[in-house]
């Protein structure tokens, strides 16, 4: 039996995008019935909460939205959709004031009481507003409190599984969800829907996102026939913790500031190696450091567990323990001494720049469906600047909330769901229960290694072709793997099965898009095509799935609607740090 439910606006996800959308929709029209459905608990699942860095916004004298824009475009290697990037940098100014004055966020201050904005790699101005190194918790807690206080329905531990189109093909009619508590299905009909479930490259052996992330939103978008763009662009963060097999902590981030403040990366022989790769050493950008660490390990110069060491002790253990309190405690809880010893690290898959193609008002090609945050693609291009992630989700979440309310004001109404699609999607989800139980662990472990080894930090045609063949094989093994039907109530193993199905599908999309892009830009590096290619003729990749499940890759020219390669809106070099502090002298 399927429970049914009607609401005006359904929001999938409760990160920065989902929560801001709900608040904005309610502000636009308090009479609207707004429902948030989320895989975990409101405000406690997903990745906005995990943001350590901060929120990029041009506020200070000497900075400008043009400067923030140019840093974003140059950092994204001219691949961003310029109107979206412009909407981001403009919207960030409004959003930070709302977070401060309407949500009550505590952002760190300078001694004179003004907002403190810190430096972040790849930016020509210190513009990252933050709350220590736990900015995400602050933003999400304050947003969630405002959502709890309002008449907004919560469907917690409700996993979205499919967008259900209208019977007459006029747009989206409903979303099919699984109520994880009792294991039954719920069909929520809505006049407009926001997808804000987040991305998260959790199909890589080492990854940073929240453990509940499995690219559900992108997979749902593919099944609904939507076009995804820039899917080859997976950002790797250089320093994830290596804690050993079967540890959930492995892959989680040790923050960028450790290197920024003078931390060393040491290979297995205890030698610094970053200056062999780049004149900025450990302070080079994420992509460069990630690739260098990967090469160092691949050349056999890694640590016993196949990583490198990060070392802070030369800066004074007491000072490190004070300045990086959170990181030091996190390491100590895993049994590592960050302040005084070495901690093994490895690059880790962090963020997906790609996602569902969308417009500046967050509309998608499916009428009634809006998208915001990491599920969307095009804002960041080939690389996301640290601090542009939470700005992106909160800016576009608010935009979507307003746009959805407006669409309803202009007459968007409930549509009749296509019952055939509902039936088909329910059958897809229940399929494993009618099959012989299989070993999901083997499939998951194989997927993690396959993506890491063949579609990761360094790619080439041979690796990617092998990756796609391997993914086809894993897809078939997954489709045959069954589950014991003991209970469907809070059955995490059923959700693991559903997670894997989505992760394998989106992995295919990443590998295929990576094969299609025959150049190296930002996060995407092809050792067989190491050059960036001509900027003037930059194209972005697109990918969509046919009803028969075939993935079709294409490409389109980037429209330089605001600035062309070679031109600039600012004085000075975009993306270059305001002034490079000299590398600190070693204590010994």
């Amino acid at each position: 039996m399927i429970k049914t439910h009607r609401t005006d606006i359904l929001i999938i996800g409760s990160g920065g995008a989902g929560l801001f959308a709900a608040l904005y929709a309610k502000k636009a029209n308090p009479d609207l019935d707004v429902t948030i459905a989320v895989k975990g608990l409101v405000g406690k699942s997903g990745c906005t909460r995990m943001v350590q860095g901060g929120f990029n916004v041009a506020l200070s004298e000497g900075d400008s939205i043009e400067r923030h824009f140019m840093d974003t475009i140059v950092g994204g290697k001219w691949l961003p959709h310029q109107d979206l990037a412009w909407a981001l940098v403009n919207g960030a100014v409004k959003r930070i004031h709302e977070l401060e004055n309407e949500m009550g966020c505590y952002f760190d201050r300078n001694p004179d009481g003004s907002l403190h904005q810190k430096a972040f790699a790849g930016q020509s101005f210190d513009r990252t507003a933050h709350k220590g190194d736990l900015t995400g918790i602050e933003i999400i807690n304050r947003l969630a409190e405002q959502v709890w206080a309002r008449d907004i329905h919560r469907l917690e531990e409700h996993r979205a599984v499919a967008f259900i189109p209208a019977k007459d093909g006029s747009g989206i009619a409903a979303v099919l969800l699984i109520d994880m508590h009792d294991g039954t299905f719920r069909l929520v009909q809505a006049k407009t829907v926001l997808l804000g479930a987040g991305g998260g490259p959790s199909m890589y052996r080492y990854h940073t996102p929240s453990g509940d992330k499995s690219c559900d939103g992108m997979a749902m978008g593919l099944r609904a026939g939507l076009t995804l763009r820039d899917m080859e662009m997976v950002q790797f963060h250089p320093t994830g913790i290596l804690a050993g097999n079967d540890t959930r902590m492995t892959g989680t981030i040790l923050e960028e500031g450790l290197r920024g403040s003078g931390g060393y990366l040491l290979n297995g022989a205890g030698e610094r190696f970053m200056f062999d790769y780049h004149p900025h050493g450990e302070r080079a950008t994420r992509d460069i450091v990630s690739r260098a660490v990967y090469e160092e390990v691949r050349a056999g110069r890694g640590t016993p567990n196949g990583g490198v060491h990060i070392r802070m002790a030369h800066l004074g253990p007491e000072k490190v323990a004070k300045q990086f309190k959170g990181m030091v405690k996190r390491c100590a809880d895993c049994g590592f001494d960050l302040a005084g010893g070495n901690v093994e690290v490895l690059p880790t898959a962090h963020y997906m720049m790609g996602g569902i193609a969308f417009e500046t008002d967050c509309r998608t090609a499916l009428e009634g469906l809006f998208v915001a945050g990491e599920d969307s693609g095009g804002v960041h291009g080939a690389n996301r600047l640290g601090g542009n992630g939470v700005a992106n989700s909160t800016v576009f979440g608010g935009v979507a909330g307003e746009a959805m309310a407006e669409a309803i004001a202009k007459g968007a109404d409930w549509r009749e769901p296509d019952a055939g699609v509902v039936e088909r999607e329910v059958a897809r989800c229940l399929k494993p229960f009618s099959q012989t139980p299989g070993d999901l662990n083997v499939i998951r472990e194989s997927l993690l290694d396959l993506m890491w080894d063949k579609a990761g930090i360094v790619r080439d045609k041979k690796l990617l072709t092998e990756c796609l063949a391997g993914l086809d094989d894993l897809g078939e093994r997954h489709a045959r793997a069954g589950l014991a039907d003991s209970t469907r109530r809070f059955n995490l193993t059923w959700h693991d099965w559903l997670n894997l199905e989505n992760q394998i599908l989106v992995s295919k999309v990443i590998a295929q898009a990576s094969l299609a892009r025959e150049d190296s830009r930002g996060a995407h590096y092809r050792s067989d095509f190491p050059d960036m290619g001509e900027l003037e003729t930059t194209r972005y990749t697109t990918i969509e799935m046919s009803p028969s499940g075939e993935l079709k890759t294409g490409s389109r020219a980037v429209e330089f609607t605001i600035v062309k390669p070679g031109d600039s809106l600012i004085e000075g070099e975009a993306g270059a740090p305001p002034e490079m502090p000299p590398p600190p002298q070693a204590a010994e």
Binding site: G40, L41, K44, S45, G46, R49, M50, L59, I96, H97, E98, E100, N101, E102, G104, Y106, D108, R109, N110, P111, D112, G113, S114, L115, G132, L134, G136, I137, E138, N141, R142, E145, Q146, W148, A149, H181, S210, G211, A243, G244, N245, D246, T247, R248, M249, T252, R330, D333, C334, G335, N441, L483, A484, S486, T487, R489, F490, N491, L492, T493
Partner: protein, 242 residues
């Protein structure tokens, strides 16, 4: 021949409000958190085991459980710190309804958070500026000391008053109220005092300090509650509170 694998004996609560414990044997690893142990059981020994987690790194506060009788965050609790004679005993958090196995319903916890006015109410300051707030100012220091709560529910589970008095707002909610009251930008600070002075409010706290002792991020809700007690009394003397 490799040395024989060491094994942890893990007793886990199975069922809802009523149920039983079940014993599992899990290979011991050099690096292993309690969440890793639970994950191993679900992945390899009993696919139906229910537990909750998300961020896996001590940020979301989803995975708290009772570990050998004490409430703890499990993603950041190394087994070596809590194991006793090779044994672990795991149960859902106390003082919250049980959904299944290790999962509790946190709704009452967040309802109390709201009842304590645990949220910001905008004041009449300009909305398009960042208010000048000195980091060394007394109220800002008090608020900063209390604000980094991850709402994991550990203090709520550790508090004996929460277990005795159903309407007691509890340490997490009151701690949030204290941070809110110290926010000079807030538009209704007396409203916070009204919210925390009534029946199940701050004056119930008997300063047992369990909350501070168990808080995984080293906050001190008892101290915050003492602040609320002081300020509500002062407001009463001034005639601002009934």
């Amino acid at each position: 021949m490799s040395p024989p694998e060491r094994v942890l004996k893990v007793d886990i609560w199975r069922g809802g409000e009523s149920g039983r414990t079940q014993r599992f044997e899990v290979p011991e690893r050099e690096n292993q958190t309690v969440l890793d142990v639970v994950t191993y059981i679900q992945r390899h020994l009993d696919a139906a085991l229910a537990y909750r987690f998300a961020c896996r790194v001590g940020v979301c506060g989803s995975c708290a459980m009772t570990v050998n009788g004490r409430p703890r965050w499990t993603c950041r609790t190394h087994v070596s710190r809590v194991v006793r004679r090779g044994k672990l005993s795991l149960a859902p958090l106390a003082n919250l309804p049980v959904i299944r196995d290790l999962v509790t319903d946190m709704t009452p916890f967040f309802e109390k958070w709201q009842a304590a006015r645990g949220r910001f109410v905008p004041g009449d300051g300009p909305r398009d500026e960042m208010a000048a707030v000195s980091p060394g100012e007394k109220h800002r220091i008090a608020a900063s000391d209390a604000i980094e709560c991850i709402n994991c529910g550990v203090c709520h589970a550790a508090c004996d008053l929460v277990s005795w008095r159903e309407d007691y707002l509890g340490p997490a909610a009151l701690n949030r109220a204290w941070a809110a009251w110290n926010d000079v930008r807030d538009g209704d600070r007396n409203g916070i005092l009204r919210a925390v002075v009534s029946g199940g409010g701050c004056h119930n706290c008997h300063t047992h300090q369990s909350c501070a002792e168990h808080c995984p991020v080293s906050l001190n809700p008892t101290f915050s509650i003492a602040g609320l007690k002081r300020e509500t009394l002062k407001a009463k003397l001034r005639g601002e509170l009934k």
